[in-house]
Amino acid sequence: MKPKTVDRAEAARQKAFTTQALQRNVNVGAPPRSGAFQEKCRSQPTQFRKFYERGDFPIALEFDTKGNKIAWKVEIEKLDYHHYLPLFFEGLAETEHPYEFFARQGVHDMLEHGGSKILPVIPQLIIPIKNALNTRNQKVCCTVLKALQHLVVSADMIGEALVPYYRQILPILNAFINKNENLGDGIDYSQQKRENLGDLIHETLNAFEIHGGEDAFINIKYMVPTYESCMLQ
């Protein structure tokens, strides 16, 4: 039987921060990757997917529509926003069709017609928004940022209501604020389609500052130090 060959480099590699590592001619190897920018897959399906498959949402699921519309079985004005809006925001973390389509359109319709019903639900939306952004998936982050921009303009005082939650949702924006591809003199079509993450983050932070009141800028600056104000001081 042949003896098991051992990689010499592997054998020579010592653990860092040990007494052996301080000796001469000892290789501790490269530090392990932290995975800060790596996409994180969800370990279990979202509540949105479970409810959708059970048929608990008041939306018609057939695909006989010509446009990008969902048909609501119940009028949006009669829906319980405390129950449904956080579920739809949780569905923004989905990447597969038709879940991501229904979540995106559902959030859009509910924000468009919610009025004063949206403000009391804001605290319940923060965890779904944070979880969706923490997936670090480019498409999901773009969808969530567009939803956030719609959220702050959907009704009065929502921008101000979001300010205490900046420390929960802005750290991931700080990580990706510089995610702009250097194409040289090429044309970046993702900018036109609003899929360029860096620019979208800037747009969202601008919207937060404009609608967040007096304390918004300083709170954004605390979490995203490279952000510059878009309003005249």
């Binding site: 018609a60 519309k69 048909a71 079985k73 119940v74 009028e75 468009e112």
Partner: protein, 92 residues
């Protein structure tokens, strides 16, 4: 006689159908009705018995009830893209 009967009947078939070349508010209304499965405002009124809800600022249609009882909601701004203008039908 035929024309008088047609005018009296609220859900009468239209005499002419035209495809628009350019967008207008009338085209936007027709687009929204046809997405929901109706021909125009006249047919919607005859099926549903009331006018559709409209947005305050722009005057575009806000909400339509489909024939199966579900609801379609529309934006305050224009939704009919230029490439879909030619697919709309204007009935007279």
């Amino acid at each position: 006689l035929n024309m008088a009967a047609a005018a009296a009947d609220g859900a009468a078939t239209a005499a002419t159908c035209v495809r628009p070349k350019a967008w207008s508010e009338q085209v936007e209304d027709a687009y929204r009705f046809q997405l929901a499965g109706y021909r125009d405002a006249q047919e919607y009124r005859s099926v549903r018995g009331s006018d559709p809800e409209r947005w305050n600022g722009s005057g575009f249609i806000k909400k339509l009830e489909r024939r199966d009882g579900s609801f379609y909601y529309f934006n305050k701004v224009r939704e009919c893209a230029d490439k879909e203008v030619q697919q709309c039908k204007l009935y007279h």
